[in-house]
């Protein structure tokens, strides 16, 4: 009798603990059930496939330009057998990439289409998260007949030479300047600096003549601004010296060079002569927004080294509406260090639509991408977001060129450079940010470069670095 009781107790205990173990699994099955039933119900009529599109929602939800765009494209999409479903990830820009990587890892969570920043595209491709599109692209006329600007294809080509996404926007970088402040300081309203010295000279003049409370020049210089510091500031400078981050010929990262020193010295000069913004403002995660949404529209900033997209803030429904920006702002090309050929430089980034390897509906996803990234909808998207286009036919369209600065920003793309298509780039980039912030806060360029050299060597290995 007693033994029987013990056995019961044992069985109950075992069952209880086992049921606990399976707690997670069973709930997951429950989640799946309604979907299955739905699919079965649908079978009697037509099977509607759901194509999920994942993109970053910066907190504005259904007001977001991408959400509205996806809805619009989906509404006119001729194939009514598929349902296009936006599945945004609400996250800061940095967290978005981590969350995407996690989602792409598993068949259960991977969407069918994902928006990828070209800077992380190569890493995600190396990780095997993305589907190479070369075979599919061969059969797409738009891709082969020159509708896409040829240089833009470089941004979506990974280190293995395969294409992993169709680009939908890009950007260029240059010197935004406030013409009113320039006028007050006696500087030309149509400003085209020929070298770094001329940029510095203009900043000094503004400091002297434009009065207190006006920041002569703003560049993102902190770790907190992440990729903006690497790309808009450091790489614009480094590539302007004629040097690069990565040597394609020998497949090595350049960790020690005169170009690095020159770029860092420029940053040092800005801070030593107090030509830049107060450090408490610029070493802050909000620095980019402070410059473009507050200082520039309020007339407290003369020159800003920033991306072509900042005008998106000034639209009527933007974050900081400023209708006068068309007349007040100028957009000058960033000169090379000494004015050497090609005279000016810009880095281009941008976003692409990719298909995850774990997607269940790759063919349907591809058909939708072709439809959405044709001329009509690409144009709508870049106009709504204030980005510049990757399509040559859109670039010529009056609807696009009539918007202020679009034509110049697209023009700068002629000399556009891309970040190295290397899977270690995101990690190296954080070392760049550390190095730039060190110089900004008073470390000498030589010391900062030495630390950068050590850190990059540790990340990529001794065999993959070189000095110049």
């Amino acid at each position: 009798m007693r033994i029987g009781k013990r056995r019961w107790m044992l069985i109950t205990a075992a069952l209880l603990s086992i049921s606990l173990l399976f707690g997670c699994t069973s709930s997951k099955n429950n989640n799946n059930t309604p979907a299955n039933t739905k699919a079965e119900e649908g079978k009697t009529e037509t099977v509607k496939k759901v194509i999920k599109i994942t993109y970053r929602d910066d907190g504005i939800g259904e007001e977001g330009a991408l959400y509205k765009w996806i809805k619009e494209v989906a509404a006119s999409y001729p194939n009514k057998n598929v349902e296009i479903k936006p599945t945004p990830i609400q996250a800061s820009e940095g967290d978005y990439f981590a969350k995407i990587a996690l989602a792409l890892k598993s068949k259960d969570t991977a969407p069918d289409i994902v928006t990828e920043d070209t800077f992380i595209l190569n890493s995600d491709a190396s990780a095997g998260y993305l589907e190479p599109l070369d075979e599919k692209l061969k059969g797409w006329e738009d891709w082969t007949n020159g509708s896409f600007i040829e240089a833009m294809k470089k941004g979506v080509t990974a280190s293995d030479g395969k294409v992993y996404g169709v680009p939908y926007n890009t950007d260029s970088r240059g010197l935004w300047y406030n013409k009113e402040i320039f006028k007050k300081a006696g500087l030309p309203e149509n400003w085209v600096p020929a070298s770094w010295d001329e940029v510095l000279q203009a900043a000094r003049t503004i400091k002297e003549k434009a009065g207190d409370g006006i920041v002569p020049i703003w560049m993102n210089m902190g770790k907190a601004t992440g990729e903006a510091t690497s790309m808009q500031t450091y790489e614009m400078l480094l590539y302007g010296t004629g040097e690069r981050l990565y040597d394609d010929a020998s497949s090595k990262w350049i960790i020690n060079s005169q170009g690095i020193l020159d770029a860092l010295t420029f940053i040092e000069t800005i801070n030593k002569e107090k030509l830049g913004p107060p450090l408490s403002k610029v070493l802050n995660g909000q620095a980019g927004n402070t410059a473009s949404r507050e200082y520039l529209p309020q007339g407290k900033l003369a020159i800003s080294l920033d991306g072509s997209w900042i005008t998106g803030n000034y639209f009527e429904d933007g974050a900081s509406p400023w209708p006068e920006y068309k007349d007040v702002l100028g957009f000058a090309p960033m000169p090379t260090s000494q004015g050497q050929a090609p005279g000016s430089i810009t880095l281009a980034g941008g976003w692409a639509l990719s298909i995850p390897s774990n997607s269940q509906n790759k063919d349907e996803a591809w058909e939708f991408i072709k439809y959405a990234l044709g001329k009509e909808y690409t144009q709508k998207l870049v106009i709504a977001t204030g980005n510049i286009t990757v399509r040559a036919d859109v670039a010529k369209d009056p609807g696009y060129t009539q918007l202020p600065f679009n034509e110049i920003a697209t023009e700068y793309l002629k000399n556009a450079e891309f970040r190295p298509a290397q899977d270690k780039y995101p990690e190296v980039s954080t070392q760049i940010q550390t190095m730039v912030e060190a110089v900004t806060t008073g470390t000498s360029p030589a010391d900062a470069m030495q630390k950068y050299a050590q850190d990059v060597t540790r990340i990529v290995g001794k065999d993959h670095v070189m000095e110049k």
Binding site: F97, A98, A101, L102, S123, L279, S280
Partner: protein, 296 residues
């Protein structure tokens, strides 16, 4: 004879009965506590990454994550920052302030205790992220503190930039003092009033009563509280991340922030797990130290 054997059998049986009841909780502990730690331990010897070539295949890389950790100067800075934050905000700040508040509230009238208690508790019940945002707007450039400072005619100070460590220490004290206060309130209520009164009758000063009677009496509570507060503070992430993000530079980068940056900003999960084990080790060492000092 037979009754004796039955007795022994019964006793034996009795000794094991407790085990059955523990099986569910042991299973939970194994699955949700021991297994993840073992997994973390395992991953810390791999090149586990979120993206990039390494994400494709998991490779065993020996102790290279640990070698990298000891060569990385930022790790040393982070350990130092963690200790400064720990000692400043937990061991000294929360502990001493919590004790003082509890002591001053002792044997005061009910209304007073209730009002002061509620105010201090407000910091404790505020969720970490809300607390971080409150204090961010307090210390921010256009924040409350600067409004006060400028109204007295002084110039604005960029608090979060010039004294970042101090701001997060103060924030954590504001947030966590109530816990120590509650613990000490309970302990002080247990100190028999007769002994203290007897000491006063014998001519002891207030200071002597405090150091010779009250403190020795609640010694164990102090150590236990110290341990709890230490472990809580070691893991603080949201508060610092929201207020300073670990910056400017690395001046407020504590180990949890550094770990997050390595794992989710640099996508190096393997290295991140190695750092988390370092954090765990620091927690274990400190706990052992407290437990030993309790025994003495």
């Amino acid at each position: 004879m037979s009754s004796l054997a039955g007795n022994v059998l019964y006793k034996k049986r009795k000794t094991y009965t407790w085990l059955y009841f523990l099986i569910p909780s042991i299973a939970i502990m194994l699955v949700f506590f021991v297994y993840p730690i073992l997994l973390t331990f395992f991953y810390s010897f791999t090149n586990l990454a979120l993206t990039g070539e390494a994400a494709k295949e998991l490779k065993f890389v020996g102790i290279s994550n640990y070698v990298r950790m000891f060569e990385d100067p930022t790790v040393r800075v982070s350990i130092w920052n963690t200790l400064v934050f720990l000692i400043g905000s937990a061991v000294i700040g929360q502990q001493v302030l919590g004790f003082l508040i509890a002591l001053l509230m002792k044997r005061k009238n009910k209304l007073f205790r209730r009002v002061v208690g509620t105010i201090v508790l407000a910091g404790w019940v505020t969720p970490e992220i809300v607390c971080a945002l409150c204090l961010y707007s307090f210390f921010g450039d256009e924040g409350t503190l600067n409004a006060i400072v400028t109204s007295f005619g002084f110039t604005e100070v960029a608090w979060l930039f010039t004294v970042p460590m101090l701001t997060i220490i103060l924030a954590n004290i504001w947030h966590g003092t109530a816990f120590s206060m509650l613990v000490f309130q309970a302990a002080l209520d247990d100190v028999p009033t007769e002994i203290e009164e007897a000491a006063v009758v014998d001519g002891a000063s207030r200071w002597q009563v405090l150091t010779r009677i009250t403190l020795p009496y609640i010694k164990d509570t102090i150590t236990t509280n110290m341990m709890l507060v230490t472990l809580q503070t070691l893991g603080v992430f949201g508060l610092i991340y929201a207020m300073t993000g670990g910056g400017p530079g690395t001046s407020t980068t504590t180990l949890p922030i550094f770990m997050y940056n390595q794992a989710f900003v640099n996508y190096q999960l393997g290295y991140g797990t190695a750092i988390s084990l370092l954090l765990l080790m620091i927690g274990v060492v400190l706990s052992l130290f407290y437990i030993r000092s309790m025994k003495e």
